[in-house]
Symmetry: C4
Subunit: 277 residues, 4 copies
């Protein structure tokens, strides 16, 4: 009896240690590759990004993130229209660059998927797009404050961060502050230009990357820099901004830390999402 | 021995996967109906809303949410006077539009239940009422700042958000900033008028909806927009507001995302409230 | 085998439901009594208050809360000098009103226990004292902003909240901003006067109550009102303050909600502190 | 059958109480020694500090903390280049004061490890260094606001907190806002001088201590004081600052609470990091 009980207890402890908490298997770290090779891996990355950006308060019930299909540059993967924190593999749809859903599915896609398609079309260098409404990005966009890199790793935005405010309220199928028509999608892509991020009045932000971990990372850095910038501008009439030369210099030498940030976000997300362990 | 141990471990793992964390049964999603048909379902919705609004920092130990009885439009369901985060089905009372408690119960009702009754009387289109004191709503009300939609989904408040400040400190049974008399309740309903929300000086806010998930959703959007508005007004002397035409346009095309937001809030609430899984 | 496994799983589920999470035994609610009758009960209350105030971000590694001994009005219970979030029953000391430790113990007491003793001596109506350094109280004290009730339940502070700044840096055993001498303790009690709370420059706040649940509650309301007041003053040059008459009126009719707030804080604390379930 | 089931349940309960939650073994408290004697203990301290500073929002995916080798004052322990919240014992490297990695390892070190080496060289009194980018420190540094002790325990910074802004963008191997060359490291150490902390434009802060628990503690106090100072300066044109004499007086009598703060941070960290229990 005693022995059996001990076994059970030991078994339970073992299970607890392995599965219940912690012990997040980080062996994947050594094999970190920000650019998946297969559609299957890409889908898993999209699920991870949805959960991570929810966990980092970038997404609430809104927001979406996509990844270009590594097996076909003319399509991308994105969740069906549900809250990002609930996304699982079965929710990921394949969509073409005009926004047409390729996957056979009864599920509705995000109405704003055209944002992703238009950017992938205009930017062959981009493989991942995040569209979100983090509170601080909304504040800066609506305040009309020009984004300036303030913390060193935000120098990745040395090309500037425009504020989009060319919504069309009159076009036939226009949906105001939502980007749902090809015309609006193309305008969004044009104003983003060669840059990594854009704020959007009454809406939020768009951030792009050559990989999904980069786009996730850059979105979080964008938000953190906004908090620092708005805080510094409130605390002083003459906050210290990086010069353009400084941010360009920094922005070009940065970039080695992608595995570090990705593993950090994954670990935090797993702590908060037992079903993702 | 070994086999038995394995069984226990596997059993425990199975149980853990199913019940302990995650695996929140979202099959209900497909059957989402924001308007319950029976009193029994209505009561369950009221419990959910209490827990969700607590989890989203809309409620603290104060605040209440009600739902009109789908089986009798002249009564509504609301918790007895306890902290919303502790509400279970047994705490829900049926109350008539004059504030009379119908349910046989030894439990005390909220003294401010008349807010709900007066609004249901004046607004046949309203099926759910939230009254709460979120910090940011209190700030805006006490600052006397006029609410303006800033983020696109806050366009649902295109009819405006008045600030209530007609408390009666002299009437016989008046309780100052508390709304406990029919006269004060009717005044509250009159100033709310046909709108979706109202701020209240020294008190908080009231938000209404044609369904409980809508009222819950709208309360959270109200708060988020207040954070953006106060932030943008602090960061700039000329923040960008939606024009009245823009917010009206947006406010009328929005609304398809109710299932998405409800499932999001439910999931977050269940993660934080194991007894609700 | 199957049956056994099922038993284990069921057993584990049962245990999980009962002990692991949730199912916080709230039967105590019905027997709520804010004023314990015995020293033993008083000690349990002091432990609860330490954990609650830590969980509500009122305490960090500093801060202390005491309760007058219900069996001897000339002594009070307070933790030994450890972080409040770590306090258990074995850490509670009995101290007399001059700060002398009565309990036989090798543990060091808080150097500032004289705050509690001096107030109990000067205020027979006070049975519980909280001394803490919540960030927002520090901001208001150091800004020299006069506290004004802004949210209705903060009307309990209708007698005003003075700001203490009479530290003695020259007296023989003076410890500057710490209150460790009887002289400084008596000065603190004198300036607090008949009021419920006081802010302290470079230090934090003191809040008192006729019961421990009241002192805990009032400390949290004090903090929340400060957040609203500083926010409203920042958002507007003319925020709406309660008139003195209004806050006095409200402050005198409030008070029925103590069980509600106490159960709320206890529930939140238990969710975050498994060892307290 | 019944008995067996009961055993399992009891066993599971026992295990749950002991290992799952709570029951953080605080027996170590009585043996608290802020200065480990062996390299092995030092490594464990460095792991703890990484996790604590992550848990207290001082670190995100960036930031590092080191401890001078108690067995060899000419080397120190610091993690390899990964996110601090993921650090375990196997990640700790021994590095000499010129930044040369002593440990045989395939792992890359932090490029900014020279910050630590240069300070240990210049300051024999320093045994632990924290370099981090907490949002509030970044705000203050970029706003160019002079740090002033506002809360009593921040008087430990009575010697002042300079703002570093002497980055070299032109030197051969210069990396702009990163401190990666010996020249930049020595400049950092020179401007820090005999002080406990320094802010860094576009970067964050450096905090040092004669022990690791002290450096951890001081970093958190630095951040908290910044929040109070920026808040008070925003709420008032004439906030109350400590005089230099007051902060010097306080700063010299403080210091007895290190065990209290360390146990507090450890407990919070363990609650959030099951793998560290």
């Amino acid at each position: 009896m005693r022995t059996k009980k001990k076994c059970v207890v030991l078994g339970a402890m073992f299970f607890a240690c392995l599965f219940l908490f912690g012990s997040l298997d980080l062996s994947a770290q050594s094999a970190f590759n920000p650019k998946p090779k297969t559609a299957q891996e890409a889908i898993e990355f999209v699920v991870m990004a949805n959960r991570i950006l929810s966990n980092e308060n970038i997404f609430d019930y809104l927001g979406h993130v996509s990844l270009r299909n590594p097996e076909n540059p003319n399509t991308f993967f994105i969740s069906r229209a549900i809250a990002p924190d609930l996304v699982t593999k079965g929710d990921i749809l394949e969509v073409d660059l005009d926004g047409k859903v390729i996957t056979q599915s009864k599920f509705a896609p995000y109405s704003e998927r055209i944002i992703h398609g238009s950017i992938y079309k205009a930017r062959p260098d981009v493989n991942s797009v995040v569209h979100a409404h983090p509170i601080d990005a909304c504040i800066m966009a609506n305040a009309g404050v020009q984004f300036r890199p303030m913390i060193h790793h935000a120098a990745i935005f040395w090309q500037g961060v425009p504020i989009y405010d060319e919504y069309d309220f009159t076009a036939p199928k226009a949906t105001g502050f939502l980007v749902t028509t090809k015309e609006e999608g193309d305008r969004v892509a044009r104003i983003l230009g060669p840059r990594k991020a854009m704020l959007m009045v009454a809406h939020g932000c768009i951030v792009v990357g050559d990989s999904l971990p980069y786009a996730v990372y850059a979105t979080i850095v964008l938000r953190d820099n906004i908090v620092v910038q708005l805080g510094a501008e409130q605390a002083s009439r003459q906050p210290k901004y990086m010069s353009e030369a400084q941010s360009k210099h920094m922005g070009q030498i940065l970039g080695g830390g992608l595995e570090r940030s990705w593993n950090y976000y994954v670990n935090r997300m797993k702590k908060a999402n037992p079903d993702m362990r």
